[in-house]
Symmetry: D3
Subunit: 239 residues, 6 copies
């Protein structure tokens, strides 16, 4: 279990509260990263603020029937339960279910406990259960499907805070996890600050573009901007 991951500055995290996953995806693309979007998950419940936090991971392997009786949860060392009690405040619990959503990886009680503990969100490429209850929490939650069966049915919790895959994205403990209406994206820890620095300008420019489009401007020469457009944007943003 990785223990000493670097903590990101609160200011950096704050920037991502107003950054969209498409903008982040484009800045990762610029750096050659094409696979960091978590494929196939969607958010429970309606509109809410961005999910932003560093990753704390839980790895599942396929369940083996003799190892996954209901009694296992009585073990205080069961990794799923330990995860719920140890994910650091402000972190996102990211679970690797190998893309199998035919069983849950967590449910309403654990989600409520995570919310209480200040967890920043949960992401799983497996299922979640009690989705109606979870969707009413403030805690952002992303999963591949609602799925009533207990995790024991398919998933054996095995490791905490190791590098995992989630929805075909690589996730390292401490990576920045951002979620919005489009889904969840993973920003490698060492890229988070420089992307934060770039993204504010990018979001401002996109707002400017939307404004121009609303006024009837063609996108040619606007998005991406010609030198003239860029100058005009910069003039605007100085005001």
């Amino acid at each position: 279990m990785v223990t000493n991951t670097e903590k990101l500055d609160a200011a950096v995290l704050e920037v991502f509260k107003n950054a969209s996953t498409p903008s982040i995806a484009t800045l990762l693309y610029k750096r050659g990263l094409r696979t960091n979007f978590v494929q196939g998950v969607s958010r429970l419940g309606g509109d809410r603020p961005n999910m932003v936090g560093q990753a704390f991971t839980l790895r599942y392997i396929p369940a083996r029937e003799d190892l996954n009786q209901l009694e296992v949860f009585k073990d205080p060392e069961h990794p799923q339960r330990v995860a719920v009690e140890t994910v650091p405040e402000g972190h996102v619990l990211v679970m690797d279910c190998r893309g199998d959503a035919s069983a849950a990886s967590a449910g309403g009680i654990l989600a409520k406990r995570l919310e209480y503990r200040g967890c920043a969100g949960i992401v799983t490429d497996g299922g979640l259960r009690d989705t109606h209850e979870i969707s009413k929490l403030r805690l952002p939650a992303y999963c591949a499907a609602a799925s009533a069966p207990t995790n024991l049915t398919k998933h054996h919790a095995i490791d905490l805070n190791v590098p995992i895959g989630c929805g075909t994205a690589p996730v390292f403990p401490g990576d920045l996890v951002v979620g919005d209406a489009d889904g969840v994206i993973i920003v490698p820890l060492h890229m988070a600050s420089e992307i934060a620095a770039e993204i504010q300008d990018m979001e401002a420019f996109e707002a400017f573009v939307l404004d121009e489009v609303a006024k009837g401007s063609s996108i040619i020469g606007l998005y991406p901007p010609s030198a003239e457009t860029r100058a005009r944007f910069e003039a605007c943003s100085k005001k």
Copy 2:
């Protein structure tokens, strides 16, 4: 066609109106049943009471073009139409489309007729059409996707009330079918009463747990409960 399936007591059915599919899944798991959740279907429309009723089944095989012209519906013995007119009041119509949602298995008119006749719900691992209209009915309806093409395009109705598969779950006529926001689960007929007996305590305990979690309790020793927690719950529930 199976005709004499045992009818469940109204009291048993009543219990399941307040039982969640995750709790049922766990009690089935305890009995060794891992595959009774209907995979891949979701509910049309928003929040509503649980769907609860015994299964009445309709089996489709793949359509063969020469047998599935629009005229077939003129036959008063067409199994889909017979199903709609004969599903007993309070039963759920469960359809086996072999997981193929590229065509509908029923639409708005049939759904409305089923509602009128007192049907408790419809479940299909194929498509439904007129989903906007169906979502406004009181009748709960679960499908794999909205799909405009008539069932004849892909599905040939062949059998009524035989054992089927639906969303990879085995379904026998008369089995108890329960649906909530997480999806649909099949309770084998002979297990329904004993699970009803167990589930009320389980739901009460989970409500107690949620309450404790809201107050800040750790889940370790709470869920599953230590002897002390269990005692405390029992003391509470006596009040």
Copy 3:
């Protein structure tokens, strides 16, 4: 690039504003067409009027990394950008992403520009990004998934207004595209007028049927109608 596709009469288009995709699917089925429903896409945002317009197509092939750097968008001839600026008013932009929704095929800025230009809707069997923003536009938009990565990640825009596949449906430039809550269906251009002529009666009859069902009528002899039912419907509709 096909340039001279026949324009449909406004009156024909108008009819389809009140036609459902299931009814259209049935009339296509009657003519032997089983594959014109766009499989696997759903509408962003809530209830809204039907999407109706002729198809203007954009074809993507899989991206090749050396050809898809962010700079390509600076080319005023980039087919995606040209598509956005040239889709004729009242047409639907239909995109062929080979069913790969792991990247977007368009986003919020382009969607807003399309709305401004009077585009009748967008349909893609790939992803869309900025789905929250798009769902707030009046422009109807259908996609296989929300997906944050830029189209360059997976999709190379190659052709405008050639015949394509979208969601396993064949789409020819100029075909009529209709979308409602169930999804999107493609009406071959040369069939649009005759289907328009037939569908009004069909929708009226289905409304009559729903009414009868609401009053408690069995569907046997009603849907499809016996001679007596048909006569009764005709008597009603004359009033």
Copy 4:
């Protein structure tokens, strides 16, 4: 269980021993049938004569753990075992596993027994086990994959000789089943004689075409034939 299916003439069956599944597919296509090829199965073992026989069907539903203990095979009425002992000589045993090949639907011992009883072949859209042994039998066998787990793991044998789906093809008891290196195709019983009448000429013509192609002829005007080519073929075949 259907019991009185019409038996095809030996002469008709004989014709199909020299007919290819592509030719049959084309003649079915001519009659509007597009879905009778069994998708996703392949033949065990190397080159061998065509499999030809009428269908005897076995339907599986998903296994339910409490109903599928190893003891069930002790029941002499277990449908899988009854199937093996009652499939009529010269018939093909066709199994519906809902396309799930993660467990076997039969193994080496049953295959050997079927061969001994004069069964014409086995086809399953599930798995087969002991594939090395089966591939050494004369009995043609087609499956979706080699799969070691016993059928009980996933498949509950439920019905004999009812209409089924196999590899997305509709199969009615008594339908003609033909298999070659390309796979398996289902000929509806009532079409078998007329297709037999047509296919001999078709195969003769294709042999003629191959001969012409070997001599350097273009396919334009040859395949399909111009009037001149057709005349030349007819002249040849009279010799």
Copy 5:
């Protein structure tokens, strides 16, 4: 990295050289284990002796482009290369590629080195490259597909000898891995000896059954055996 897994007796391993994966699957099924068959992999090359050995595992996560340049192989600690040099003699290298066969997990050079080092086989739910060369080795090799791209394209080697999933089967370091023509099955370490004890009788009985079937015996009362059959078998096997 797990280091002290128990070594199985040579005598136990020897038994499995003559045991089939279907027989093992059945004995695991008897113990409640339904998921230990490695789904979706097949053997390269033709008939050969069973693969038998304990599991040594290699875990991959999805590749991240900045971490997977060709230079990484220069690192003598790269887990894939360390795996190849440290898998103990007689062990099977089992790789977890999350079922993604769009890139290789190993190729001809590593396979040849593994053969030289006395490795008992390789199993991956990803791809293998140089399959023609590997199929000519004595080393048994199982994969999901031939796949030319280097592992770096999709797979980032991360861990050695931790519990993994492979083809949806759970695999713990030290588990017994057996492969034959049907595929690969995982026997939990603690069950290996008792299954070895049972399987010899089972294989002998199946040989007896095949013999009886060859003589024309019905399977009813034979397989599974009636008391009479069992007695007869026991009499035979004493000779």
Copy 6:
């Protein structure tokens, strides 16, 4: 239809006759190309020389029933037939079937004609029929599956020699196509010469490595080579 694609030097083509697709994949990876391997296709028939030639493409869209009657083949301008008669000698016919192998894209007669005309091979991400006959030709043929149904069932031939996708790889007319036992890879035209220049050394080095491994060398320091190893290889190759 693209007509003037550059022809590659015979010497360049010759080099690729002795190059493996894994080596090519690695050299493309070095240049940032990760998606040029044609996923999901395999070669018909046994061992044979590499397939090497420039791409001539045929694009299919989904079939529409009214446009795809058997008579269409009588049209001498039908794109599939034109493709067969116009693919230049030494070129590979690459077909885009959108990954749908449920129908054929070509069969034995067309394959034989292609062989006669000096075509270098066929590649399709759809099906092929008459696979037994095709596997006996010298013409290399790669497909996603054997599939008896005529192409008209699912595929409508629409375009010749335009950029396409095949098995998720981008293919431009004139690109170099190489196939071996592992599958098929696409080399962008402008990279073919420089990769040819690099690959001979690479193949020689891999042969040297295999030789060292056969003698018992560890792969550490060998593959990739340390400076010492590289020097030793260069000394060897000078001899």
